[in-house]
């Protein structure tokens, strides 16, 4: 029986090629989109699951509220890990990390700059399932100045030779001994380290923060005992502060923990993050090893791909019901030959299954074709092979069957309900009611497309807004040399040398840039604040007198720093946001108190009075998602980057000169440079990806919608042949006839847009809330998207309509 069904299905599909092509390509695209989303989501959800104990691993996050401002930090005080293992029975083990940042590693004569260097405890290998390939599991990471290398790093340093026991020269001042090699950390991990250095290497005695509960610089992971409840443990965490933080406060400040908290208007608590939730649910501002993803993208991506599939299913339903007349005779005959209704339902479902399976095969081909592009877009390494696990196979089967049933059920029940008596005598149902359903589904399709078009337009408009927003500085033609700190006293020399090049307009040295770079905050208060130590920490940058000019910022009151004023060491520039933050009516000449660390004793704070000599116009130094915060600029040495403003022209030559000088000064040190505008654009990378995904999916939605329209238009033109003939006999012109045929679609698409507009407005308004500085959603966007949808749809149907309208009436009447 099924063999027969399959045979008939294939013959039917190959007989009506146009219909098959439309339905098949739509379904294939829809399934491909869903499979791609599935691959993506499966990958995102697999983060950190390589850890066998992932269910039991939790990370400590610290929340600090100070004068109403909440700061979230991934990290805990250094003693936390040890104390918790000792005092809480739930905790089986714990591991701390301390980021080193970058280090210069010399192996023999070769120099490497390593960025993924971390200090950690020996328990690292007990908590995380990272295999130790070489070295003694019991001994690694215990002795000071020992290091374990990732496999790739070990091969990079030593090739095939055994690295254990070899020495690394670090930053030209100390030596680390390699004590082991670990397998590279999987891509689906929220951290990736190349060098893990023993925690005992850190100097715990000279830096007081190393033993303090108040410095949250140590990412701390707990391994709970099997069966222990994380929420119970979380409830006990305040005890830690009472028993361990309170004595420390008492010792240093002479007051109780409660008094300290009240005085500083401060709140402090620890919470636990499940390891597997970090990748998608943790977006803390400080202390993340790497930028994480966001569950929002998963929702967005699955919703959008599901909609594409639904649009394709609608095409299937619409076209198969529209075509039902042509299948009616077969249905009637089969009933005459003794078919039960259920047999027919089965037959039509088989047909839709055949179509779905073909679509699935094409979808797999499509995925293989687009995966490289998709991977480069999302920075992933997905492969179709990832679907070869029981869960994914089951999901694909369920999805295919679901699509089969969703697409096939309605046509199957509709067609199988035909009464043979009426069909075989040639008056098949007029289907007025079905026409309504079909029109409703078309409206739905185009409403979805319109929402996606508007979404795309708004995302790109916001990106355009960001690109062209007056930032308060000039991001074009600015070259940044990284790591100029390593030049030490030669940095200034290099700056002067580069200034001699005719292409370099001006140059400045600073670690602080209005793109991601070094950041610092200090408690800064007005002179009349009695308690400056507890003042709100304000961003604080050290710059030189060329900074403002080189970056194209504007002084709106007072003056810039100048080499001619010797007193400028105690002067500051502030931005307009700082003027209002401090409530200064006449900022020039006012004094601010900064709480700075003592140069020779970083543990001790001293108050430094400074005079405001100028006000800088607000410039966006953080992402446009945030409002401009107060900023204090002081004159001081900060050598992190050498920033040069260039004349347009041969920039490559400037870079070449710079590289030559750099290599002469620091042989073997990697040379790294960037352009300010590119660094700026990187901040909005995730928005760019959303924009591109939206654009691709909107195009797909419109494409599928138009395929459906094309099919419907040809059927309705065929169905109305007689009406057209009669009207033409009565004197209608081709143009009137075409207009008659097209009018319906214009109305449908107009209705779809009207439904789509408020939905799109609501959704995109919510998305724009992410930005403190945002474009408006203006009426032209809606009108444009409406016209675009209409134009594409009309292009699609007008060919059919005009052809039908031009047909010779005699032919169409003879059709009867």
């Amino acid at each position: 029986m099924f063999k027969n069904y399959f045979k008939v299905a294939f013959r039917n599909l190959s007989r009506s090629k146009g219909y098959t092509l439309i339905t098949l390509s739509g379904l294939a695209i829809g399934l491909a989109a869903c499979l791609l989303a599935f691959l993506y989501i499966q990958d995102e959800l697999s983060y950190d699951r390589y850890n066998e104990k992932s269910e039991r691993i939790f990370r400590i996050a610290t929340r600090m509220v100070r004068e109403g401002t909440e700061v979230n930090i991934i990290g805990a005080g250094a003693p936390t890990a040890k104390i918790m293992t000792e005092e809480f029975p739930e905790v089986e083990n714990a591991v701390r990390f301390r980021e080193e940042g970058s280090a210069k590693i010399k192996v023999g004569a070769t120099v490497f700059r390593e960025k993924k260097v971390i200090y950690s405890d020996p328990s690292f290998f007990d908590v995380f399932s990272v295999p130790l390939l070489k070295g003694d599991r019991q001994a690694v990471l215990t002795a000071p100045r020992t290091v374990v290398l990732s496999q790739t790093t070990a091969e990079k340093y030593f090739g095939m030779a055994d690295p254990v026991g070899k020495m690394l020269r670090v930053d030209d001042k100390s030596d680390w001994q390699v004590s082991g090699v670990f397998a590279d950390i999987p891509r689906t991990s929220h951290f990736h380290f190349d060098l893990i250095v023993s925690f005992s290497t850190l100097d715990m005695t000279s830096d007081p923060s190393m033993g303090s509960w108040m410095s949250f610089n140590f990412q701390t992971y707990l391994l709970l005992r099997p069966g222990a409840s994380a929420s119970d443990l979380e409830a006990k965490l305040p005890l830690l502060f009472a028993t361990h933080l309170a004595p420390e406060i008492k010792q240093f400040m002479g007051i109780s923990l409660e008094d300290f908290m009240t005085k500083a208007k401060m709140k402090l608590d620890y919470s636990l993050q499940p390891l597997a939730a970090i990748h998608l649910h943790s977006n803390y501002s400080a202390g993340e090893f790497e930028p994480n993803s966001d569950i929002k993208y998963i929702f967005l991506f699955s919703a959008v791909s599901l909609f594409i599939l639904i649009l394709a299913i609608i095409n299937f339903i619409n076209l198969s019901t529209a075509r039902s007349i042509s299948r009616a005779k077969e249905v009637g005959l089969r009933k005459v030959l003794g078919s039960f209704r259920l047999d027919l339902v089965k037959q039509f479902l088989t047909e839709s299954l055949v179509l779905c399976l073909m679509a699935l095969a094409i979808a797999c081909l499509l995925i293989v074709m687009v995966l490289p592009l998709f991977n480069s877009l999302t920075a992933k390494e997905l492969a179709l092979g990832a679907l070869l696990n029981p869960l994914a196979v089951a999901a694909v089967i369920v999805m295919t069957l679901l699509v089969t049933i969703m697409a096939g059920a309605y046509p199957a029940f509709l067609l199988s309900a035909y009464r043979p008596a009426s069909i075989l005598r040639g008056n098949a149902g007029s289907g007025a009611g079905r026409g309504r359903l079909r029109r409703g589904l078309v409206v739905f399709q185009f409403a979805v497309s319109a929402v996606m078009i508007i979404g795309t337009l708004v995302v790109f408009r916001q990106l355009h807004y960001i690109q062209n927003k007056k930032l308060g500085f000039d991001k074009e033609q600015v070259l940044i040399l990284r790591h100029s700190r390593l030049l030490e006293s030669h940095a200034e020399t290099l700056k002067q040398e580069m200034l001699r090049s005719p292409q370099v307009v001006s140059a400045t040295l600073s670690s602080y840039l209005p793109v991601p770079s070094a950041r610092a905050r200090l408690p800064i208060a007005r002179a009349d604040n009695p308690n400056p130590r507890q003042a709100f920490p304000v961003s604080f940058w050290r710059i030189d007198e060329d900074y403002i000019g080189t970056l194209g910022m504007k002084i709106v009151a007072g003056r810039n720093f100048s080499a001619q004023f010797s007193g400028d060491a105690q002067s500051v520039l502030i931005n307009q946001a700082a003027v209002s933050h401090f409530g200064l009516k006449k900022p020039l000449g006012q004094t601010l108190i900064m709480m700075d660390m003592q140069a020779d004793n970083p543990g001790k704070m001293v108050s430094v009075p400074c005079t405001v000599i100028g006000v800088v116009e607000d410039f966006h130094y953080e992402s446009l998602r945030e409002s401009i915060a107060p900023l204090v600029l002081c004159r001081g040495q900060s050598l992190g980057n050498l920033v040069m403003r260039l004349k347009p022209g041969n920039i490559a030559a400037v870079i070449k000169t710079l590289k030559r000088k750099w290599t002469a000064l620091l042989p073997g040190e990697p040379f790294e440079y960037a352009f300010l505008d590119e660094s700026f654009n990187k901040i909005y990378e995730s928005e760019m990806i959303i924009g591109r995904i939206f654009a691709i999916f909107a195009a797909l939605a419109v494409f599928i919608g138009c395929l459906g329209l094309l099919g419907l238009a040809s059927f309705s033109a065929a169905k109305r042949t007689k009406e057209i003939g009669v009207r033409k006999v009565l004197g209608a012109t081709v143009r009137e006839m075409a207009a008659l045929l097209i009018r319906d679609y214009v109305l449908l698409i107009g209705l779809a847009n009207i439904i789509a507009w408020p939905i799109a407005y609501y959704l995109m308004q919510r998305w724009l809330q992410n930005f403190a500085y945002r474009t408006s959603i203006s009426i032209p966007i809606f009108i444009f998207s409406g016209l675009l949808g209409l134009a594409i749809a009309l292009l699609t149907v007008s060919y059919q309509a005009i052809r039908a309208a031009r047909a010779n009436p005699v032919d169409s009447l003879r059709y009867e």
Partner: protein, 238 residues
């Protein structure tokens, strides 16, 4: 075999009822060859469809053997029809997507006949109707007469007790028509009950009995000659 009592069929559109059949009483015995005649729109085909259980009567009772068809559900009716009734149409009504072989096979598939038996039944049928050479062809590759031959073969393959034929020769030339009628005659002799609808006096002459319909009313009955030893000159209405 068939007992119709007070069969009425009408279509309602708005407040107007259009009657197709009015109060038909009819008995058909097993082994009879009955002809239904009458002008276009008289309700002949509707009567045939009702007997074939492809359509419902609006009023009245229909017993097939002892089964009250009028009160059975669709599934049960399909079962009776599938086991007992073969249909032949004026425009052949073969399934265009299926080959001759598959067209013959389809009713057996619905009857859930086992594969081996099915093959031998189809093979027998192809032999019997001398269409073995055509078995791989599609309906549109056959002439009208050949198509109707296949249609009859298909109606007969389930070995039905009753064959319903709706103007079976209407689209055929006279030679082809005769062949088909001879075939019916032969089947009738072998014991199959046949009810045919026709405009043709010649075709009607193959049957035992003729009934006439006009505007939904059953006008008269006549016994015709060839079979059953009845006199050939019956009451015949022109």
């Amino acid at each position: 075999m068939i007992k119709l009592r007070g069969i009425t069929k009408f279509y309602s559109s708005g407040f107007v009822k259009t009657f197709v059949l009015r109060n038909i009483d009819l008995d058909v015995q097993e082994g009879e060859f009955l002809t239904v005649m009458g002008p276009s729109g008289a309700g002949k085909s509707t009567l045939l469809y009702i007997i074939g259980m492809l359509d419902d009567a609006s009023e009245g009772q229909y017993h097939f053997y002892d089964q009250p068809v009028h009160s059975l559900n669709e599934k049960k009716r399909t079962q009776i029809h599938q086991q007992n009734i073969g249909f032949v149409f004026q425009s052949y009504h073969l399934i265009d997507e299926l080959t001759v072989y598959e067209n013959l096979e389809t009713p057996l598939l619905y009857k859930k006949v086992k594969s081996d038996e099915r093959k031998s039944l189809v093979a027998d049928s192809l032999d019997r109707f001398r269409i073995v050479a055509k078995k791989g062809l599609f309906p549109n590759q056959l002439s009208g007469g050949q198509q109707q031959l296949v249609a009859v073969a298909r109606a007969v393959i389930i070995n039905p007790k009753l064959i319903l034929a709706d103007e079976p020769t209407g689209n055929l030339n006279s030679r082809q028509g005769e062949e088909i009628m001879e075939l019916f005659k032969k089947l009738n002799k072998e014991g199959t009950t046949i009810i045919q609808v026709t405009h043709s006096e010649k075709n009607a002459s193959y049957s035992d009995r003729v009934i006439h319909l006009l505007d939904g009313w059953m006008e008269s009955e006549a016994k015709t000659g060839i079979g059953g030893g009845q006199p050939q000159s019956g009451i015949r209405k022109k």
